[in-house]
Every structure is written in C-alpha cells, then in structure tokens.
C-alpha cells in the first residue's frame, strides 16, 4: 500500500515543487498545468520532448516562437514548482516509507538467517539420522550377499578338496564317511549348477566316486586274504549307502575266486625261477622236488587264509545279518531288501563249496605236477599230513568230505607206495646179494617190537602166544580223532588267531603222529627202557658158554642183517598204513612181497646145488608158494619191467667147502631167518587184519596159511643140499652093491658100508658142532638137520637095497640089521628119538615078506617109492613069474595114472 502511494505520485507532472506553487500561483498554475499537452507526460524513454517541440514550433514569426517559448517556459516553471511541491509534500511519507522499508529489510535479514539456521540444522539432523541407517542397511545387505558368495566359494573349495578328504577318510577306514562325503558333494554340486566351474567339479566328483569305489573294491578284495569284521562292517555300510550291497557281494565272490588263484601263484612263485608267462600248472611242474613240501605247505597255508576269511565272512553274516533283519512287511522296498539278503545268504553258502572246490583244484594241480611219488618217505608223509589236514579243514569249512582229494591221496599214495616199494625191493635185492648170511647177534628174546620202527605199534601187538588178545582199537580210535580234529581245526577259523593248522609242519621236530594228529604213544614203563633195551639188544658173545651144547639152546634167534632190514621196512610200511588207512591192503600186500622175495631168494641161493631129485623134498604147499612167487619174479632175467628182478646169486658164498658142510651155516642162517621172519609176520597178522577191511582179511589169512605157515618146509630142501653131501652117495651105493643079499643065513654082523656111513655121519656131527659155535642152533634146527640127514640116509638105503637084484630072506634080514644098526648110531649121534623116516626103509624092506595080495596093495599105494624101487622089490619078492609080470604091469601103469 505504500508503494501505491508512490506510484500515484509518480504519475503526477514532474519538475514543480508543490509548496511554491500553492504559495504563488495556485489557481493560475493549475490552469497552466491543464494546458500542458498530454504528450509530455509520456516517459522520456518513449518520447523526446525536445524533438517534439521543435517539430511543432511555428515557423512563421518570431513572436509566435516567443510566445510558445514563454508558454513553455511558464509551463516548465509550473511543472517544476508543482513537482517540487509534490516532492516536499511527499517527503515525510517518503521518509516514513523509507523507515518502513528499512525495517522490513531488517526483518527479512533475520528471517533469512533463521531460515538458513533451520536449514542447516535440518541438514545436520538428516545427516545424522537417515543416511547412516541406510548405509548400515545397505552394508548389511551387501554382507549378506558376500556371505552367500563366500559360502558358495567355500563349498566350491570343499568340493575341490573332496578328493583329498576322501583319501584321508579312506585312510582312516571311514568308508561310509567317504562315500557319504562324495554323495553329499555331488548333491551340493548339482544344486550349484549356476557356477560354471561346477560342471568340471561334478565330473571330478564322479571320478572321485569311481576311484573311491575302486578303492573300496580293493579293500573288499583284501578281505579275501584277511577278514576283518570292523572293516567289513564299514565296507558294508558304505556299499549300502551306494546301494550296491548285492553287487558288492557278487564282487566279493569274484575276489575270492581270484584270491585263490593269486595266492596259489604267490605260494608257488618263490620256488620257481622264471615265472613270466607261466601257467600255474607249469609253475607247479618246475618246482624242485626238494622244495615241493614247503611249497605245498605255503600253498595250503595261503589257501587256508582265504578259506578262513570266507568262513568268517559267512559266519559274520549268519551272526549279524539277522540283527538287522526287518520284520516281514508289505513295504516293497523292504521285501526287495529281504530278497536280496536271502540271495546273499544262499550265495555265501554255495560259495563255501565253490571255494573249497577251487582250493582243491589248485592243490590237485600242484600235486599232479609235483611228482609226489619221488619224494623221500619223510617228505611224503609230511605232504600227506598236509593234505590230510587240508581235508580236515575242508570238513570244518564246508562239511565236504573232499572225495576228490581223498581219491587223489589214495591214488597218489598207492603210486607212492608202489614206487617206494620198488626202491625198497631194489634195496632188498642189493642187501640179499651182499648178504653174508651170518647170524646177527641179537638177544634171544628179540622180536620185531624191539625195533624202533615198531615202537608205536607195541600196544597193538602182542608177542604172547595168545595173539587173539591183540587190541584192535584202531577203528574206534580213528572216528574219535576226526571228532577232535574238527574241534581242533575250528580253532584256527577264529578271527583273532593268526595261526594256521599248517604251522606245525614248519616245526623241525614234528613227528608224524603230530602231523596226523594221532594219539601220542603212551610212554609206558616198557617203552621207557626201550632205548636201553635197544642198546643191549644184542647178546654179548661172552654170555653164552662156548661149550654149551647146542641142543640146550632153547631160544635162538637167527636173523640176518637183511632180515632186520626187511622188518624195518615192514615197520615203515605200517607207519605209512597208519597215515593211509585207506590203502592198508595195498601196503600189506607189498609188505608181504618183501617177505616173498626174501623167502624166494633164500630158496634160490641155497638150493642151487641140490643134487637130489626133489619130489618128496618139497611139500605141495611149498611148491605152490614158490611157484606163486616165481611168477612175479623175472627169473629169466629178461628185463621184464612188470616183474621183480631176480637177485643175482652171490659170488662171495662158497657153498662147496666140505669142512663147512657145504655152507650149512649160511644155509641155516638163511632158512631160519626166513622162519623167524615168518614168525614176525605172524605176530603182525592180527594187527594187519585190524587195519584192513573185513572182506580183505581173507587175503591175509590166505597168505598166513599158504605162505607163512609153509616156510618151515624150506628146511628140508635147503638142508638136504648139505645133508646129501655128508655121505657120498656114489661110494655108499657101490659099497652096498658089494654086499651079498642072497645069503642063506642071517648074518650077525652088519655090513661094512654101515660103518662107513656112520663115520661120515660122525664127521658131519663134528662139523655141525663147529657150526654151532658160530650160529645158535636150537634143538628144532638140529632136529630138522638130522631128520633131513636121516631122510637122505633112508633114501640112500632104499636106493642101495633096490639095487639088489637078488635077495634072500637072509639078505632081507641083513638089510634090517644094517639099517637098525645105522639108526641106532644115528639116534645116538643126532639125539633124535626115534630117528624119523625109518619107516621108509623099514616098510620097503619088509614089503618083501608081504603076500601077493599085500604086495599088490603096497605097489598100488606106496607112491613114495619109485618104479625102479618097486620093480626091484617085486623082482626079489615074487618067485612066481606070472605074479611078477602082473605087478610089473601095475607099477608101469602107475606112471600113466599119475
């Protein structure tokens, strides 16, 4: 409103002070003002007053100009005055207004300041409150983002380190953890596909998983060699996590198969030089025979470890699989699981037999290529022991009776024993060929039980006459053993033992009984003094008084070195039998062959010089047994491989020396040692019968009755060789032929040839005494020698008497006188009472007195006399020519009848 006032003022005419105006010319002045053209009130910027005047100025006269001028002048004065007046008039207002303006100005400044201050404070406030919070929020958000990034990164990093972590876990045997880690990592990886690096990582993880599975597989394979429950549990869990429980079991079975292969090769490898490209069989073939037992041992041990591991595996399943078994439910998943479990169970059970078959095959391969039959006895026994143990192991392992192996053992054993026997026979041949047939100085009570080889049979054998009391407990005992064995073997299948049932074979001092788990021999008092007994086994030569009459020697034991070695062989054969009961018969038969050979050889060597026809010297049984043995012996030396080579007669035996009664000493030793040997075999018989099966006993009985019981018959032909040379037959027969048998009267004095023969017999007796100092001759031997001699004498006499073509009653009487005298002396010298075989000559001589009928019967029945003898008898006895011819015809027809 103040400005309005000024505005109004401005529109008033300029240049005149209003106070002066009012003062002088107020009315006039107003007039003047009115006269002023309006143009002049225009703003100076738009209107140039000077120019306007000039343009409008009158051009005609000066006056006019003057007039205008004055008028203008006047106008100007009025205007100025008016203006002045107006100004002065408005001055206070102006001042007032000015003051007002000043005031407003001041107020404005304060306002501005306040505003500024407020703004400033507002800014501070906003600064302080709003922005920092937002920053915090923003930072927080940022942090969140970074964190998640970091997490991802860490995950990535951990994914990257999964490999090492898994390796570490595997090292710690945390298989489950390892698998879990990998699976989680895989999952994580798949959920972070947005990262480009994940693709690579994922493949790497897959690789790791594959590798880990491979490692697990390797560990699974190691289970085959040593079953560790803890590890297996872990593995199983890991596989379960992988969902491969069943596959793992399949895999495990494959591992077992290959483990059998590999450990077989491993066991054999060390004993074969160059194993490159070698098959197992070839490797087995190139194992040195000396190394074979230890190699077999390693093989069995290795295979046992696998079997044990499998056994434990099956055992574990039986024990713990049930624990986790799920009650039958309808859940498809669980049914499936149960089916799988059942499958595994069956697989495991079938696996037992399968693994055993694998093992058996390996061992068989080894054995087949190892030339088992060439091994020394001890080694062979050891090998058998190992095999036997293996069969026991198998029985515990899978209840298998190991028929394959048993058969194999049997055939190999037969092969071995045959080969072994062949060696023994060769040795026996050598022994016999070199035998000096000297009596070996053993104690008079000696029998085979004194030999170390028979030590363990002592309890089964009885030397008492009552041999039927022999204990035959072996059958019962063996079944007990197998029971014990299985318990014993089971121990080795325990988890916590690192021992194997084969360890005992590594022991140096192992005995065969240990090997076979036979009950140890009872150390009775008897056997305690056995070594002592063995040392004192031999009668000291001084023990027997040299002058002691031979006939007083009751128990003489005549054995040769070879006899002892045969007996020892028998002991070894029986030991083999103990370990190989299934081939007992074969062994016993071979044992009998040893006897046969000895028997045959004694006969062969000591009857070579038998110079008398042998029809009555050999009993039919002796003939048949000799024939039987001869059939098996290559008598012709034809190199027949199926037959036993015939022993070559020794050159060191001189059987031609008369002073030594043509080797009578050796003959006695030979024959008596055969008889002793037969007795020892007889002692063994009950035991032998107990070890063969009942239907085989017949064979043994046959041997006993037809061989052992026959050996005594050997005495006559052998002793006859010496006996027949005691009296020179030719000289004696000549002397007898010089006697006149057709004398009329009965003579009182016996013929001269009788004394001659008696003298010879006396010489024989003396020489026999001599022999008795070297060889212990009991009465039985002496009797048999004397009776052989007497047999020879009677035959000599009959021969001599039959040479008499003419004979009277007196002559027949002389014959009786002669032979009675002879036998009287012979009885005295020999101590035989009565002298045997007297009948032979007695009957012959007395047949002379028989009537025609009696003579015919005699001729028909008395086959012991030869045709020549009977012819001579008939010639002498029958005076009737017709009778003579009839009887001669009968005699001649005898031949054809026989």
């Amino acid at each position: 409103m103040l400005s309005e006032a000024t505005m109004e003022n401005r529109h008033g005419p300029p240049g005149v002070n209003s106070r002066s105006l009012s003062a002088a010319h107020s009315a006039a002045d107003l007039e003047v003002l009115r006269e002023i053209e309006n143009v002049y009130f225009q703003p100076s910027s738009e209107f140039d007053a000077g120019r306007y005047v000039l343009e409008h100025a009158p051009t005609t006269s000066c006056d006019e100009i003057e007039q205008v001028f004055t008028k203008l002048k006047r106008q100007q004065q009025v205007v100025s005055g008016k203006a002045l007046h107006l100004i002065s008039q408005q001055r206070d207002n102006c001042d007032k207004e000015f003051k007002e303006i000043q005031n407003i100005r001041e107020q404005l400044t304060t306002t501005l300041q306040t505003c500024q201050k407020a703004r400033e404070q507002l800014r501070a406030a906003s600064n302080h409150l709003t922005i920092s919070t937002f920053v915090i929020l923003a930072n927080f958000r940022k942090r969140q983002i970074i964190r998640s990034v970091l997490k991802s990164l860490e995950l990535l990093r951990s994914l990257r380190s999964v490999e090492t972590d898994v390796a570490e876990l595997l090292l710690k045997k945390e298989y489950y953890g390892a698998i879990e880690l990998i699976l989680k990592s895989k999952k994580a990886a798949s959920s972070h596909k947005e990262y480009t690096c994940i693709a690579d990582l994922a493949t790497r993880l897959q690789d790791t998983l594959d590798m880990t599975e491979e490692k697990l597989d390797a560990i699974l394979a190691s289970i085959c060699y040593r079953f560790d429950e803890i590890i297996f549990r872990k593995l199983r869990k890991a596989y379960a996590l992988l969902g491969k429980t069943q596959a793992a079991m399949e895999q495990l079975h494959m591992h077992y198969s290959s483990a059998v292969n590999e450990s077989s090769i491993e066991a054999v490898k060390n004993y074969v030089g160059d194993t490159i490209d070698m098959k197992f069989q070839d490797m087995c073939m190139s194992v040195q025979p000396t190394k074979a037992p230890i190699c077999l041992l390693n093989l069995c041990e290795n295979l046992f470890l696998i079997m044990k591991s499998y056994y434990l595996l099956v055992d574990w399943h039986a024990k713990y699989d049930g624990e986790e078994s799920i009650p039958i439910s309808n859940n498809v998943f669980e049914i499936e699981k149960n089916v799988s479990r059942e499958y595994i169970r069956q697989k495991l059970n079938a696996g037992l037999v399968r693994i055993w078959h694998d093992v058996q095959a390996k061992v068989s391969t080894f054995l087949k290529s190892s030339g088992l039959e060439e091994y020394p006895f001890e080694k062979f026994i050891q090998m058998l022991g190992i095999l036997r143990k293996l069969t026991q192991v198998a029985e515990v392992f899978c209840g298998d009776k190991s028929d394959l192996l048993q058969d194999f053992i049997k055939t190999q054993s037969v092969l071995y024993i045959k080969n072994y026997h062949k060696g023994r026979m060769e040795e026996l041949k050598l022994f016999l060929e070199n035998e000096g047939w000297e009596q070996c100085p053993v104690k008079s009570t000696f029998n085979l039980l004194n030999l170390q080889e028979f030590k363990q049979f002592k309890k089964y054998l009885s030397v008492r006459s009552d041999t039927s009391l022999v204990k035959t407990q072996s059958d019962g005992a063996s079944s007990v053993h197998s029971q014990d064995d299985s318990v014993y073997i089971s121990k080795y299948f325990k988890q916590n033992t690192s021992h194997t049932p084969f360890e005992i074979f590594r022991c140096e001092n192992i005995t065969n009984d240990d090997i076979f788990g036979l009950e140890p021999e009872l150390v009775s008092d008897d056997s305690d003094d056995e070594p002592e007994e063995l040392k004192r086994d031999f009668v000291d030569e001084n023990d027997r008084l040299p002058n002691e009459s031979p006939s007083k020697v009751k128990d003489s034991v005549i054995v040769t070195n070879t006899t002892l070695s045969v007996l020892r062989h028998c002991g070894q054969y029986l030991q083999i039998c103990r370990y190989l009961p299934q081939i007992s018969l074969e062994v016993v038969m071979l044992m009998n062959q040893l006897f046969d050979y000895y028997f045959f050889t004694a006969h062969l060597f000591f009857t070579v010089d038998l110079n008398v026809a042998s029809t009555t010297l050999y009993t039919p049984k002796l003939n048949s047994v000799l024939k039987r043995i001869r059939n098996n012996i290559d008598v012709a030396n034809a190199g027949d491989v199926d037959k036993i080579p015939c022993p070559d007669p020794p050159q060191h035996l001189n059987l031609g020396i008369e002073e030594s009664l043509h080797g009578l000493s050796e003959r006695i030793v030979a024959v008596e040692s055969v008889i002793f040997l037969a007795k020892q075999y007889e002692i063994l018989q009950p035991y032998l019968e107990s070890i063969v099966s009942s239907h085989q006993r017949m064979i043994l009985e046959y041997f006993k009755d037809n061989t052992l019981a026959v050996v005594q018959d050997l005495r006559i032909p052998v002793y006859m060789c010496s006996a027949s040379k005691a009296v020179d037959a030719r000289t004696a027969l000549i002397a007898m032929s010089q006697v006149k048998w057709d004398v009329k009267n009965v003579a009182v004095e016996h013929s001269a040839y009788v004394d001659m023969i008696i003298r010879k017999i006396q010489v024989f007796a003396l020489r026999l005494e001599n022999i008795a100092t070297k060889v212990t001759l009991n009465s039985e031997i002496l009797n048999s020698i004397w009776s052989t001699l007497s047999k020879f004498i009677v035959h000599l006499l009959v021969e001599g008497f039959s040479n008499a073509t003419k004979c009277s009653n007196g002559g027949r009487g002389l014959m009786q006188l002669d032979y009675r005298q002879l036998f009287l002396k012979l009885e005295k010298i020999s101590g035989l009472k009565p002298v045997p075989f007297q009948d032979y000559v007695d009957k012959y001589v007395k047949a002379y007195y028989l009537p025609r009928k009696g003579l015919e019967e005699f001729v028909l029945e008395r086959v012991e006399y030869s045709n020549k003898h009977l012819m001579a008898l008939v010639t002498c006895a029958c005076e009737n020519k017709k009778d003579r011819q009839a009887l001669s015809a009968i005699i001649e027809s005898r031949d054809s009848a026989v």
Partner: protein
C-alpha cells in the same frame, strides 16, 4: 626211478663204534643230523648219484656197524668194495688206535686196490679233541691213505670225503690201475654207459649126479 649213471662204486664206511659213520652217510645222502642215534645194527645202506669230473656215478654205500659183535656180519659186505671211508672220532683216542685193525680188515677182505680215505669225524667238537691233525695225517701218509677231517653234524667236508674218494677211484680207472671189468673190483658200468657189465652168469643147477631118487 629213471636214474642213469656211468659207473657204480661200492663204498664202505668202517671204523669203531660211535665214530659217526651212520651220521656221515646220512648227512651225505641228505638226511638230518640226529644227536643220539642208536648203534647201527649190522649194515645199513645208502646210495647217491654224484657227478665226478662230468661223469655221473652212483655210490652204493654200505654203512657198517662198528660194534665188535657185528664184525662177522659186516665182514661179508667188505668184499669187492672199491672205496672206503675209514672213520675215527677225533675226540676218541681209542677209535684212532683201532684204525690199524680196521685197515687190515679192509685191505684183506675188500678188493686189494681199495681206495681208502681216512676220516677224522666230529671236527665240530674241537674242545674235546684227543687226536691231532698232524698225527692222523702221519698215520694216513704211512698207510697211503687220503685224509680229511669232517663233521657230520655241520656237514663240513662230508661230501668232499665221498667225492675225493670217488675221484681217486675214477682217476685210477682212467689210468688203467683199476679195471672195472674185473670181478670184485667194486665198480660196475651203469645204465648210462654203452659198455655194460654182463650179468654174472648164474651157476646152473648141477644136474643130479646122484643116482638116488629121493
């Protein structure tokens, strides 16, 4: 057994009781040493094929009992031996003193050309030695024997003893000093040689020269 060899030598192991003859043999043929072995009864036997100068030779070794009472039994095995180990025990003066008798037996009963090696056994028992190496060597020299000290327990010189003896025999065959063809030489040609000693003819059973019919 398919063993082939060119020569077969018959060997003896003789000497007093307890000198370790059986142990020597057993060691040689590859058996384990037994500490307390029983006295040998009569004669035992072992054989081994060895390679001597490229010739495979079978040694047929008779291990005799040393005890006096077996003399009569063991003597019959002396006949025709090509080589012998005469064994004494270095820890037993008696066994050494008995050597002369054993040597006489060997020379008279076996082949006269028998190659004898004197063996002082139980070399491992040095602390109990009673017979010095020198005196034994001297004995060997005087009697033209070869000499070795052995230990059947440790196996020292055992194989050497047999081999040395065999080598000497072989050398003598090669120089013609020994004739394998001669009966009782103790040497036979083996399966590996073409020359084969004909099997000694068995004395044919003499036909009954006695007229009497028994």
């Amino acid at each position: 057994m398919s063993e082939s060899y060119e020569y077969l030598f018959k060997f003896l192991v003789i000497g007093s009781a307890g000198t370790g003859k059986s142990s020597l043999l057993n060691n040689f043929i590859g058996n384990k040493f037994k500490e307390d072995r029983c006295h040998t009864i009569g004669v035992e036997f072992g054989s081994k094929i060895v390679n001597i100068g490229g010739k495979s030779t079978k040694l047929q070794i008779w291990d005799t009992a040393g005890q006096e009472r077996f003399r009569s039994v063991t003597r019959s095995y002396y006949r025709g031996a090509a080589g012998a180990l005469l064994v004494y025990d270095i820890t037993s003066r008696d066994s050494f003193n008995a050597l002369a008798n054993w040597l006489r037996d060997a020379r008279t009963l076996a082949s006269p050309n028998i190659v004898i090696l004197l063996v002082g056994n139980k070399k491992d028992m040095e602390e109990a030695r009673e017979v010095t190496f020198t005196e034994a060597s001297q004995f060997a020299q005087e009697n033209e024997l070869m000499f070795l000290e052995t230990s059947a327990k440790t196996g020292e010189n055992v194989e050497e003893a047999f081999l040395k003896c065999s080598k000497t025999i072989l050398a003598k065959i090669e120089t013609g000093e020994l004739d394998p063809e001669r009966i009782g030489s103790g040497i036979q040609y083996g399966t590996g040689t073409s020359k084969r000693l004909a099997a000694p003819k068995k004395p044919a059973r003499t036909p009954s020269d006695c007229a009497c019919h028994v």
